[in-house]
Every structure is written in C-alpha cells, then in structure tokens.
Amino acid sequence: MKYETDVIVVGAGNGGLTAANELARSGLKVILFEKHNLPGGVATSFVRGRFEFEASLHELCDVGTEENPGVVRKLFDKIGLDVDFINEMTLFRTVVKGVEGYDVSIKAGREEFERSMLECCPECGKSMKKLMKLLNSTQEALAYNDKKHGKPNKLVMLMRYSSFLISASHPLDDVLLSLGFEDKARSILETYWSYLGVPATDLNAFHYFEMLRGYVKAGAGVPRLRSYSISLGLAENNFKNGCDVRLNSEVTGFIFEDGKVIGVRVGDDEYYAKEVISNIIPHNVANLAGSENIKEKDKKLLNARKFGVSFLCIYLGMDLSVEELGLPYTTFVSSCLFPGESFLKTKYPEIYIVNCLNAVVEDATPSGTSSLFITVPVIPEYFMEGVTPENYREFKNEAALRYIKDCEETLGINVLDHIEEISVATPVTFARYFAAPDGTAYGYELSRWDGLMARMLDKINRFSYDRLTFCGGHGASGDGYGVTYLSGIEAAEKVISRLKKQELIEDIKQTVKNTVSGKRRKKEEN
C-alpha cells in the first residue's frame, strides 16, 4: 500500500521523539516509525524480578531546579512535559588506584565546586579561578556568536574571546595544563571525559567545558521513574499533538527520486512525505539508501569517521540497602591519573563508573534493596576479540565478574554475595536493540578533527541528502541526553522553515498564475 504524509521521522530515540513532537505541534501531519516496541531508544528501562533498571542514563546535565531551571528543564517546560526530576548536587566521587591515587568527592554548584576542588587540591586556587573565568567567557563568546547569527566578527572574537578560541581549538588536557593545574587537580577535572567517550588528550576543551558548566552551574537531575518515563512522556505529547507513532515498524528502505528523499519503505508499504528526518545513524541510512543514492563526498565523510565508544553495562539488583553499601550516586574508578586513548584500546579498560540509583531516588527499588549500575567504556574491536555466539554468555559473565571484583576491592564493598538480579549489556546489546553499527552507543567519535567545535564550524562537510535531515547522538552536537533532545527540535525547526518557504513559493506561484490567467481571461474577454 502507498500512504502520504507531511513529514516522516525515522526512529523514536530522544531526537526522533522531540522532532516529531515539534513538527506535530506546528500542525504538520507526522508519522514516527520505530522498529522496537517501545519509544525512547536507549532512554529506556527494563524489569528483572522486583527491580526496574535504568538502561543508560547516568544523569541529565543542565537540569537545574524549578526556581533556577537549566537548559533541559526549560526545554521540557516549553514542550509541556512534566518530568519528576530529583536534583543531584554531588558531581561525583572519583577513585584512582595506585600510589599516586586518590579518593575524593566533588560537589556541584559554582562555589561548592570550587571549595571541594580546593579541599582536595589546596594549590589549585589560582588555576580554578582561571578555569571559572574561562567557563564564563566561553558562555559570553557563545552568546556573542548567537547574537551575530553564527557570523561573529573575527577581530572581536580574537580580541575579546581569545580564551574561548583557545579552548575551542585545543584538547582538554592541553588547556588544563596551560591553566597551570598540577597533576591531581587536572586528573580530577578530567574525570568526566568518559561521559563523552573521548580521552582528555583528544577531547575538545570547549566541548568539555560546555558539559562541565551544565553540571556545575545548573546541576544535574535524575528522573524519578528512569529515563523511560521521559520517553513515554514525549510519546504521550506526540499522541496529543496528533502525531502517528508506529512502533514495531522498521524502516527497511529510503525512497529516492531525482536524488531527493521522498519517502520510506516499511515492510510492504510505502510512505511518501515532503521531508524525512532520520534519528538513525548516517551509516545505516547509507546502507538502506543504496550506493547509487549517496554522493561521493558523503561516502568520504562516512569513511573518514570512526564510531564512538560502546559500553559494557552491568546491572545489579542488590539485596543490600544503599546505606549498607555506603555508596554515593556516582563513583568513577580508574587505575591511573590520566587514562589516555591507549587505555581504551585493550580488552578490559581499567576505568568504569559505578552508580547506585537509590542514593538519589531513595525508593527506586524495594526497601532493603538497591540497584548498582556499572558502566565501562569499551571499543568492540578490542573488547570483543574472539567472542562468538557460542561463547558470548560465558564472555559476558567473565567480563562482569572482573569488574564486580575490582569494584569490591577498590570500594571495599561486598557485591557478589548480594546479587539478587543481574543483567549484562555489551556492544551486542546496542547492536541488537538499536542496530548501532559496531554497537556504538555514542554515534561518531568526537575526537580531534571531528570534535564538537569542528562539526559546529564546518557547515559544508555534512551529510547532504536532499530533504533528509538528521537528528540524534551522531549529529553535530554529539551524544548525551540533553543534546539529543535538542537535536530533534533543531532538525524539526529546519524542516518547518523549509516547508514554510516552499509553501510561500507555492503561494507566490499560485498568485502569479492566478494573476496571469486573470489577465489573460480579461484580455480574452476584451
């Protein structure tokens, strides 16, 4: 069968959901296709026994409080989505093993952040002042850039915002060195890199500062009912706005005409639209589109890019309370001060994050129990070497055991005797549910040449399918919950403005036609 609509959105991940919502809100007819039976993509949860595990979210950056909302809360307010957030004002505890190691907790909030940094690194005062200034000037530079609609005066930028230009064009590690941070402070500040999947020596400093600002200034939030509640909330908004949400509906092809994307295939049906938005990664779109429909320069862009990291996730339902475990919400563990790229290029990277949801959402699990979530960034090429379908289960348990034991030793807790439920996700899990190539959880690697700043500045080397717009973690702004929600809105805004322009052109054409035919008629009448 053939169907027609205004806009098709492919994939109901964070970006697809907000895109569809924005489009439907503007009065367009929208169909949102999702291959899975739930909306949300990685923003989901799952139940084992009496536990409901968060699948992927650690915390949403830049949520802020009701009185002092951050970007994410404002975004949800704007689209009329009520999410029950709990604020988390401890940024993290970070434990580095070894003789140079440390075990410190850093707080959110500008002053608290500075104070807790000074407490563990008394010598970093001067450098911290410089860092805070840099965070501010970055914000001012962005505001100036926005004011100039992305075309700032270069001289003004160089004179007034040179520190921004520096952070925007150097890796985080270099910038922190230039600010004079000694090793321990630098190591603590770099802790968050694993949230972006790019080691500090390759991570664009501006990108990191943007994230840090969101965590430090506004503060992070955790949804009381897991990220899945946000996904269902967005789906609900879509229903209300008249968007047709089709779950269990995998898009199996893109339909092209004269180089333009004019629709998609779902099973035996064809759906045509004026515009298509893809929440699915360009690599998969390329495979579905067929070689002949992809421009040479897009092929180059696809091949130039590397995928971002994937993860080993260990979900544990514990029959111990959070008090008995004695853990904060977030603990980073690493075996050295500066885990670099080579650190990930190994089977078992010695860096991971331990989250205990009950430290923020007290009643996330039944009384006397708690949930632990261990996240390890991995590169499948190394992590999954030698793994086959037959030994996969054994491999999963081996990997999980290794990190659980490390966790027990490093944090001095007893985990193994108290596991009531266990589930382990690997790159295979990401491949299974999201068809992510090589199980990437983070789209394309945001490293050096393809970092956030580079993607934002380079307006030319982007995927250039006519009438197809991308949103999601593989986009210019990179991965992360907040940015993917925003990416959907941005994609929708682009599409809406193009359609409006087109409508305007059609209108003018019609008017001209009417006038011409009117004149002709008059002539003929005469």
Binding site: N37, L38, F46, V47, R48, G49, R50, E52, S163, L165, A168, S169, D174, L177, S178, G180, F181, D183, L225, R226, Y228, L232, A235, E236, L247, N248, H283, A286, E296, K297, K299, K300, L301, L302, N303, A304, S310, D319, P380, E381, V387, P389, Y392, L401, L416, E421, P427, V428, T429, F430, A431, R432, P437, D438, G439, W449, D450, A454, R455, N461
Partner: protein, 399 residues
C-alpha cells in the same frame, strides 16, 4: 603525544589554531575513500546479535515422540529452505514462542526448550490440555516435516553463576519438567556447571516423562532426581509421597546456600510460596518460571470482580478501529486472538513486555503476580494485554 611529567608544566596555546579547525576537518574527509560503507553484518557485535537474537526462526518438525499418554516430545530443526541456517544458541531453561495458525487465526504460545544448548536443535514437550487450543493442536495435528515460525529463545529461569548458588534445588510440577530436562542434559554434557537436586512432582508414575533418561543422567554425581507422588495408589520404592514441602526440601538440600528453581502450575507456586517462607530463603535464591496465562483469575489473591459478563473493546491499529467483545475473565490478548486480530506476545505471563500496548480509555485488572510493567507504564496507561482483564469498555491502541 608528549609524555606528561609529574610536575606542573606550563604550555602555551595558540588562539590562531581556531582558524585551522575547518580546513583540518576538510583535509581529513577529503583523504578518505569514497567506497560504500560495509553492511551491519560486517561488524562483530551486529553479527553476533543477529545470530543470538534473530527476529524469528523458521523450523521444521523432524521427529515426534509420545512421552506419556497425553504428552509429546517435538524436535525442531532449522528450516534451511526458508532461510534459517542454524538455531540461536540459548541458555538452559529458556523458552521459545511458537506461532500457530488455526482456522485463520494466529496464536503464539511459549514452550520451554527441553534439549541441551549443545545439541543444535530444540525439543519441546507439549501436553494436551483442557481448552488449550495451541497445545491440543500441536499434540493432535502436527506431523514430521511441518514448518513453524518461532521466536528467539528468551526467559528468566536460567542459571546465572554470578547470582545463583552452586546447588540448585529444582521443583518441577507435571509438565513443568520441561526446562529441567534441559538443565539435566546441559549439566551432563558440560554446557552448565552446577549441582541439581530435582524434585519431580507427579500425580502418579504414568505421568513421568523420559524416566529412563533421567535415571541414566543420575549416574552423574551433580544430578539427583527425587520423584514426589501426590496421587492415590501405591508409591514405588524410592519415591516420596505428597507434595514438595519445606521439610522435604530440607531432607535433601545441602548445608549452606542453595537456589530454588521452580516450574509448574499456578497452584504449585502458591503452595511453594508458603513452604519456602518456612525455609527463610533470601529472595535471590528463589526463581519461579513464568506463571503462564492466568487461567483462573478468580483464584488470584488480588482479583477484582468484573461488573459485566463482557465488555466492548475498541482496537485502534493506526488504520482502523475494530470493535470486539472481551469477557470479564478473558484476557485482552485472547479476545484479540479470538477475533483474528494479529497480536504479538512471547511470555504470556505479563512479564516480558513484548505485547506492550497503550490504553486510551477504560479500566482494567492486571494480576499483581503478573504485572511486569515498568513504573512509568502505569503512569501513562500501558498494559501487557496477555495478562490484562477489562473492567469497563476500553479503547486500546496497538503499537
């Protein structure tokens, strides 16, 4: 990368680098090849995912053996002609959902896999049952060579070495023996490594399936089978009489920790809940298999009576609205099946969420012991129709 010294080191950075960002990126992209990207199957995680989680599997019946007067062992092998080269690997204790078409209606029912993960085929044991449309069909109408579509293996009654004790006390009630046959075979051939003490509850000895096989398996010191006979009549030598009570478990269980795995009818689970409490086992050591569809909802502890004999259900499938009726003690899923509406279901026990569906209007009853929903599902009105009873007229929106 320069080596970072342990001392504070100042380095100079250049703001002019900013001007090179775009040209650097362009250079990198220009130097890349303009070949097609490789298909998903070219990545190891994706290739493994497609083998262990196929969306569906095509199988053929290769053998049917009567194992009791009312139960048959059906052996399923990959149907290569329809594109299934190999069957997905599974952990002992898993099940598959079998799709069956009867009189133009499509049904899906879960069956535990009863063979070992190392055998390359799946065996299921199907017992004919009162009112069991699919079980009776599989018992009476299936011949060697028949083809079926089945799901990937799934389930939660699997042995997890990081969670479960080294010894499992298995409790099988009647045809609930099926996953335990898989465990026994898996321990025998080394696919699983734990000690199993299995209580096999039966009415009378003629209910026992594959006794020779179990007796042979018991030569392995890791396996012990204790027959527990509850029916009237003489109790054969070595059999226990009655039900699997706390006392009986104590008699056979080892010192220290052990896990209890149970599979059987609802009444057995209810009975065990009381008995296991007496043993003071931690929750982590108790695993019940899927409870299956709630056949006698009135007997459930939290039962909410229906005020009408049947209700009007409007089913929205994105294209049209279909009105059907659903009995007060009939699940929405069964009503849809009965009316020829294509449904998706796997566990039939309210747990796996495969049939996840939105309620637009109306009240319903989901038994607490079969409510595997996420917290937000209740907030936004989602149900698992396989275990949901209407309590008013309803409008539901298929995914």
């Amino acid at each position: 990368m320069e080596k970072i010294s342990s001392k504070v080191k100042k380095i100079k950075l250049n703001a002019a680098n900013f001007l090179k960002i775009v040209s650097n990126r362009k250079k990198k992209i220009d130097s890349a090849e303009s070949v097609d990207v490789k298909p998903l199957s070219g990545y190891r995680p994706n290739a493994i995912a497609s083998v262990i989680h196929p969306e569906r599997q095509f199988v053929k019946v290769s053998e049917i053996t009567a194992v009791t007067g009312s139960a048959k062992l059906i052996k399923l092998v990959p149907d290569k002609d329809r594109g299934t080269e190999r069957l997905a690997p599974f952990a002992a204790g898993s099940c598959i959902s079998v799709e069956v078409s009867i009189d133009g209606r499509t049904y899906h029912r879960p069956y535990s896999i009863s063979s070992s993960p190392l055998e390359g085929y799946y065996e299921i044991i199907v017992k004919s049952a009162n009112g069991g449309i699919v079980s009776n069909f599989l018992n009476d109408n299936v011949n060697a060579g028949d083809g079926f579509v089945i799901s990937e293996p799934f389930g939660e009654l699997t042995y997890e070495p990081l969670r479960d004790a080294k010894t499992v006390v298995g409790i099988a009630g009647g045809v609930g023996i099926t996953p335990f046959r898989s465990f026994i075979k898996a321990i025998s051939d080394g696919a699983e490594n734990f000690d199993l003490i299995l209580f096999y509850g039966i009415d009378n000895p003629s209910d026992i399936v594959l006794k020779d096989e179990f007796d042979r398996a018991c030569s392995n010191p890791k396996i012990r089978v204790v027959y527990v006979m509850s029916g009237e009549g003489d109790v054969p030598d070595g059999f226990e009489k009655g039900f699997v009570t706390a006392e009986l478990i104590k008699k056979y269980a080892p010192e220290g920790d052990y896990s209890v795995f149970a599979c059987g009818p609802e009444a057995m689970y209810d009975f065990l809940e009381v008995e296991l409490k007496k043993l003071g086992l931690r929750k982590k050591f108790i695993r019940f298999d899927y409870r299956g569809e709630p056949l006698r909802p009135k007997k459930l502890g939290d039962y909410i009576p229906a005020s009408c004999e049947s209700y009007k259900i409007t089913v929205d499938d994105h294209r049209a609205l279909t009105e059907i009726t659903c009995g007060g003690d009939e699940t929405l899923l069964k009503a849809m099946e009965r009316n020829g509406i294509r449904t998706r279901t796997k566990c039939m026990s309210g747990i796996c969420g495969y049939c996840h569906t939105k309620v637009s209007e109306g009240d319903y009853y989901m038994p607490g012991n079969r409510d595997g929903r996420r917290a937000a599902d209740a907030v936004y009105g989602y149900i698992h129709p396989c275990c949901t009873f209407p309590r008013s007229d309803m409008v539901i929106k298929l995914p």
